[in-house]
Symmetry: C2
Subunit: 467 residues, 2 copies
Amino acid sequence: MLDITATYTDHYELTMGQAYFLNGRKDQHAVFDYFFRKNPFSGGYAVFAGLLDLLKILENFRFDKEDNDFLRAQGFHPDYLAYLKDFRFKGTLYSPPEGDLMFPTRPVLRVEGTLIETQIIETVLLNMINFQSLIATKASRMRLAAKDGTLIDFGLRRAQGLGGYHAGRAAFIGGFDATSNARAARDYSLRASGTMAHAYIQSHENELAAFRSFAAARPDECVLLVDTYDTLQSGVPNAITVAKEMENKGLRLKGIRLDSGDLAYLSKQSRAMLDDSGLHYVKIAASNQLDEYVIRSLLEQEAPIDVFGVGTSLVTGQPDAALDGVYKLAHVDGRPVIKLSENVFKITLPDKKQVWRAIDDQGQFSGADAVSLDDEKTISMMHHPFVPHQSFPLERYEVVPLLNLVMEGGKIVYNPPSLSRTAQYCRERLEMLPVEYKRFENPHIYKVGISNRLKDLRDRLIRQYKK
Amino acid sequence: MLDITATYTDHYELTMGQAYFLNGRKDQHAVFDYFFRKNPFSGGYAVFAGLLDLLKILENFRFDKEDNDFLRAQGFHPDYLAYLKDFRFKGTLYSPPEGDLMFPTRPVLRVEGTLIETQIIETVLLNMINFQSLIATKASRMRLAAKDGTLIDFGLRRAQGLGGYHAGRAAFIGGFDATSNARAARDYSLRASGTMAHAYIQSHENELAAFRSFAAARPDECVLLVDTYDTLQSGVPNAITVAKEMENKGLRLKGIRLDSGDLAYLSKQSRAMLDDSGLHYVKIAASNQLDEYVIRSLLEQEAPIDVFGVGTSLVTGQPDAALDGVYKLAHVDGRPVIKLSENVFKITLPDKKQVWRAIDDQGQFSGADAVSLDDEKTISMMHHPFVPHQSFPLERYEVVPLLNLVMEGGKIVYNPPSLSRTAQYCRERLEMLPVEYKRFENPHIYKVGISNRLKDLRDRLIRQYKK
């Protein structure tokens, strides 16, 4: 959809780029890690999403004429401007597949390349991965709550501007079935969904006339909004009238939609009225301020709702609204590096690393990932990152490396799966995650350990920097 | 920036459009109101923003070839598809200027045109106005808290995907001075700002070498990030060393930036160390999880911070993350209409309306807006919308109409001010708003009244629909 050029970045990437350029450091080899620090929504996991959009942006990452004019006006050095004119990203990325589960404080993406190119892409990488992962995670929680119910993204009108575009995609990865967002449906081959607003009803002389005209114009996909005037006194009875008229023409009303009031009560009453009229096949859709907790509550009350339309809380990832992913330098010009912090938990892990997911003999995630140096071919023992003398053997698990090559020399080098396949992968990975990590209230913490060599290196660097 | 086509909408706008088209109603005249129901952030006002972007989108609103192919595949009727191919928005909009203050439950935008065109633009209108108004409002709260401090948008990396683009613009309207978002700066002529990340420091042998190299590459705009290893033991002393070296070359270090730890404590210590070295001119910037409450607290503690870099909470509008703006039909085919609700406060106001802001003889907002029918030339008495026998005379106020023509026949018909002028207008309007509506805790409620004729019409329609 979107004309994203290389100025879709923080200005400081460009000022740092100039300093690297002018000081002859731009071609030093660098390794950055993307990771996040806190699971969103007080949950026990996050869903990794946004990779393919990011990689496509990186394949086409360049400064166009307007960018160059802008940068010239900002007073950048002429030699640097000349360099940026032909700038392309030629770096290499390692990551899990989209739809995989990710946990805090261990690398999710590893980016390698020249110092200048790995630096300049920082912002767009964070922007794409943080947001889509946030929304895919939110969507997956709603999927857990809704069980087999149909979930539809209704959020575009309350989305954060153009953020609504990628929200539709991310929601699908996390388990949504369809979206109201026609443009996202167009570009990502999602199922588009939507029937009528209150204005449609109001624009007619009365509700029954509105229902009839809509059924005439859209007989196959007719869902009638029943709460414009009075759901049980007017909306549902009129919908039943039209459903019966449709039956006489050999057609079937697809559903009714409740958009206000007590959805548990109204859905039960509506279901009974429909069933009493022999309209067992007419589905009930509900919308209005839904989130995973409301959906769970509705189903606990046995509300007979077949379709949930979710808007604001999905596409904005309320209440968090952001995933706190960061991008940290781990290795440069042959040297492993760390970032110190007064908060010991924020000290970064140095060097080029691999992350291993331990899977038990039942095919379930073991409850911990391990981080090693990249040249360790496997890992059989991991150590607590900060607490001395706490270690955990991994021999009885299968350990699978998560960071695999997806881009090399600035080109996508894997065969991207369809979005349906990605959503399926997310579902499979969630099934491998034990239930205690998926509960909404105080979920179990998915642990991380580090290899002996990584621990030694990190501790040596801490001592060295603190001197 | 963005290739927004007419499918950037909810699918139901298009299915309703088809029903209007097939049932011969598409050219009926319609009037819609945009309004919102609840001030964001538990505040006392909201800032209206996003208008010019919306109007430019509407001027260019069309279905491109990919849109048409998509809609054909969705099974829309061939005649409707042929109609959409040449669809243009030819409607008319009335609104206040961007940067004005707006309050709940009264119209902010009035859209007139054919039923089909006014319906189809609903989603993009809500998407643009809801989001930019949310962010401009958040920014204005930070401006109130920061007083004369410099405010810089650092949010792109945590923004909701492409939402970061318009967030930079909206933040400027609400009172921000600059943005890290180079693309927003480019397209909206904002001041771009940004210097260095921790990675820049880490990529050098040591912090002092990093500071020196950066000062060499960017002597005029050098702000040094001092918390990579240890702010007071290493970062500030090294910055002072470099500042002194710069002085020897006739240069001046612009500032230092604190990005972690206790910002109140560290800023005071840093200020003292800088001042002791005669570096009174070196400014202190602070970032890291700031919002309007943290900024207020820092200034209450007399933290000597000159520049606040605000990220996540600004560009995502935390904690609300959305403004609840809606778009409701008020008049169609010669008939005024309302939407009923079990919640009396959600019953809409019918017909084509004007909104009047009452201003007292001191040039201050009076504390209430009045809504009348559009053909009322002024208003001298307003009534409580729901409570009988409560009215309020407006004779001692100047009443100024807020909804003025901005688009006619699908063309922008006013001379859009520069964004600086819009930000200035926002500042002026905030100065006209008494302080009790601007406080963060339990702000006073800015009231709304309606004219006698509007009240009579609304009540008559309620009785009519309830029959």
